[in-house]
């Protein structure tokens, strides 16, 4: 049986999420990582996008964490789980370049995933499936380039919670958080669902540690789906557009309210279906 030829996108060269994915996917015997699409971080467009998404304060803190290894800012708890995950598996690659060199996968540097160079590389490498690990908004042409499309692990339960900060939004509504592995289509988190994975909350969690945990679950869930890809692919279910809500970036005040709840030992209680009974509609 031929191996599934996989390409992985990466939002920045030191992305621990992307490094973990490359490493773990490459261990699956039926899968071969053949290409890494590395988006250039320091382009004006990219920086603008990051600033729009996070605001300059959070963008700077995240930058310090990734590139300087700062251990005193508020994103520390967020990176701990992925650091532990990498340490447990003895993954000590410092960049996507380094790990791809080791496994023999091609690295293609692109300013945007949607550009011609990127699409040409996917075609040249006869990629069956693309795994999304950051790099910006995808256009239709990119999504349709490979045989199966683009697989993504979304940090909220689909179809219910779409868009940004869905872990946080689920918690805001007292909904048990989940990661959803789905195929990307031209809508925002509206593509077919392959599988949903629960995020277990332990007491004394805080919002940052939970977000960090969800990053690890995103990696693990993608690996699980890829380990039996045809099975999950055949089981995929389409989403109804009006079964979910598109959320936007959550304000720090609301995050802080959720964080206070978590620190106080609160646990979310309801399932997505109960949430939908609240009749909040997009």
């Amino acid at each position: 049986m031929e191996k599934l030829r996989v390409a992985i996108t990466s939002g920045y060269v030191a992305s621990k999420h992307a490094i973990a994915l490359v490493h773990e996917i490459n261990r699956i015997s039926e899968v071969e990582v053949v290409l890494l699409l590395q988006v250039k971080t320091f382009t004006v467009r990219r920086l603008k996008q990051l600033l729009r998404m996070y605001g300059w304060k959070d963008a700077w803190e995240k930058f310090k964490n990734v590139f300087i290894g700062n251990s005193s800012n508020r994103f520390v708890d967020e990176v701990k789980p992925i650091n532990s995950f990498l340490a447990e598996r003895k993954i000590d690659f410092k960049s996507t370049n380094e790990i791809c060199k080791k496994i023999g996968a091609q690295v293609k540097w692109v300013a945007s995933l949607n550009e011609e160079k990127s699409i040409a590389a996917i075609k040249a490498n006869k990629v069956d499936l693309i795994i999304y690990s950051g790099g910006g908004i995808l256009r239709k042409e990119f999504i349709g380039t490979s045989r199966y499309g683009v697989l993504n692990a979304h940090s909220g339960p689909l179809p219910y919670f779409r868009g940004m900060n869905c872990l946080e939004w689920a918690l805001f509504y007292n909904v048990k958080p989940e990661v959803t592995v789905h195929l990307i289509d031209s809508g925002i988190d509206t593509g077919p669902i392959l599988k949903r994975f629960p995020i277990e909350i332990v007491r004394e969690s805080n919002l940052s540690s939970l977000r960090g945990k969800s990053v690890v679950i995103e990696v693990v869930s993608i690996v699980e789906v890829l380990s039996n890809f045809q099975y999950y692919y055949n089981l995929r279910t389409s989403q109804k557009r009006d079964n979910g809500i598109q959320f936007f970036i959550m304000h720090p005040i609301l995050k802080s309210i959720i964080n206070n709840r978590l620190i106080g030992g609160w646990m979310p209680e309801i399932d997505c279906e109960e949430f939908m009974a609240l009749k909040i509609r997009d």
Binding site: F247, I253, L254, S256
Partner: protein, 365 residues
């Protein structure tokens, strides 16, 4: 402690102190704006009956919510007494800024806004004079209303009955809900249904600006939506609610995608983006907070908090000129088209209302 709690408290204190500073010592009314460019060295304009009217409920809700501001009750009372003293015989109230040496002209919109103050004073003090005054004012409004629910006279622009007159229907309904006289209800519904027909398929409501066929400042756009929502609350009318909701939801999505609200909009939702209308930001925040209260859709709460952030960021925290401490400009940049080079009292009024409502909601979460 919630992130940003201290900053919000500071903004509220700055706002209420500035509104108190805006009060004219002779009349007890709140002066319309501070501007050295427009008002000369004295800086302050004359008192403004319209906004004095709707600052009354702001003061009264501040005293209810925060006991430390209980002294504002007396200020609100004095504002009400001044308004009673300038009401025309036929029940109308004057438009424009009040100068004792100038002729007063009757105004539909301003009369409506003053009713908001009178009814809230009646609710708080149970003094029948305020309700009688509000009833006479509402009677004058409906006496001058056209058969189709619009107004042709006593407008800002002659013959143009703008869509933000939903904010005239709302005060008329306030009188209805206290007098139970159906003629007020019928007149308000007549106006609202007329304006409802102006809603475009994209949710925008035509004619919501000061002038016909022009762009619409965020300020009057928000007035229009608020009128529909508040009227729907009083009438328990889902149809009117849906008109306001659809418009408000479109603006919310635009705000989240573009990360800012534009100073003005065309009916295609194309924004006039080179300036922001700060009062419009907090007016939209109030609308979104009310939508969250009714629907539980937290995206509206989220957007409201962000919109309040924008205005508190531009509120003047310290200045060598004490008249500016706590002020909020009409536009950012200050030379923007909406109230250029002026600090209007209604920008701070709506910021205060937004902060109070936001606090009520957040403390329940």
């Amino acid at each position: 402690m919630i992130v940003g709690e201290a900053a919000r408290k500071e903004a509220l204190e700055l706002s209420l102190n500035w509104l108190v500073k805006s009060i004219d010592k002779n009349t007890g009314g709140s002066r319309a704006n501070y501007s050295i460019l427009f008002n000369g060295l004295r800086g302050w304009s004359g008192p403004y009956p319209e906004t004095t009217g709707y600052i009354i409920p702001t003061f009264l809700s501040a005293t209810q919510e925060f006991p430390e501001y209980s002294a504002l009750k007396e200020k609100a009372h004095r504002m009400g007494e001044w308004l009673l003293s300038i009401q025309f015989e036929d029940g109308a109230f004057p438009g424009n800024i009040y100068y004792s040496n100038k002729t007063l002209e009757k105004s539909i919109f301003n009369t409506g806004q003053i009713i908001l103050g009178l009814t809230s004073l009646f609710d708080h003090e149970q003094d029948i004079r305020y309700l009688e005054s509000a009833t006479r004012a509402a009677s004058w409004l409906i006496a001058n209303q056209e058969i189709d629910g619009t107004w042709k006279r006593f407008n800002y622009v002659a013959d143009f009955s703008p869509s933000y007159y939903t904010r005239v229907a709302w005060p008329i309904l306030k009188v209805y809900s206290r007098t139970h006289d159906d003629k007020f209800k019928e007149a308000a519904i007549n106006n609202l249904l007329n304006i409802k027909t102006r809603q475009l398929p994209n949710g925008f409501i035509d004619g919501a600006g000061f002038k016909p066929g022009s762009y619409v400042f965020l300020h009057t756009l928000a007035y229009t939506i608020r009128g529909f929502l508040e009227s729907s609350f009083i009438l328990k009318d889902e149809e009117l609610w849906n008109v306001g909701y659809l418009f408000a939801e479109k603006v919310m999505r635009q705000f989240e995608v573009q990360k800012k609200l534009h100073g003005a909009y065309y009916s295609s939702f194309k924004g006039v983006s080179w300036y922001q209308c700060l009062t419009g930001n907090v007016q939209m925040a109030i609308i979104w907070l009310k939508i969250f209260q009714k629907t539980g859709d937290a995206r509206f709460l989220n957007s409201a908090i962000k919109a309040i952030d924008i205005v508190t960021k531009y509120q003047i925290k310290s200045s060598l000129n004490s008249n500016l401490k706590g002020a909020v400009a009409g536009s950012v940049p200050i030379y923007g088209r909406y109230m250029a080079f002026r600090y209007p009292n209604w920008a701070v009024k709506f910021l205060t209302d937004a902060l109070i409502l936001e606090n009520q909601i957040l403390k329940k979460l």
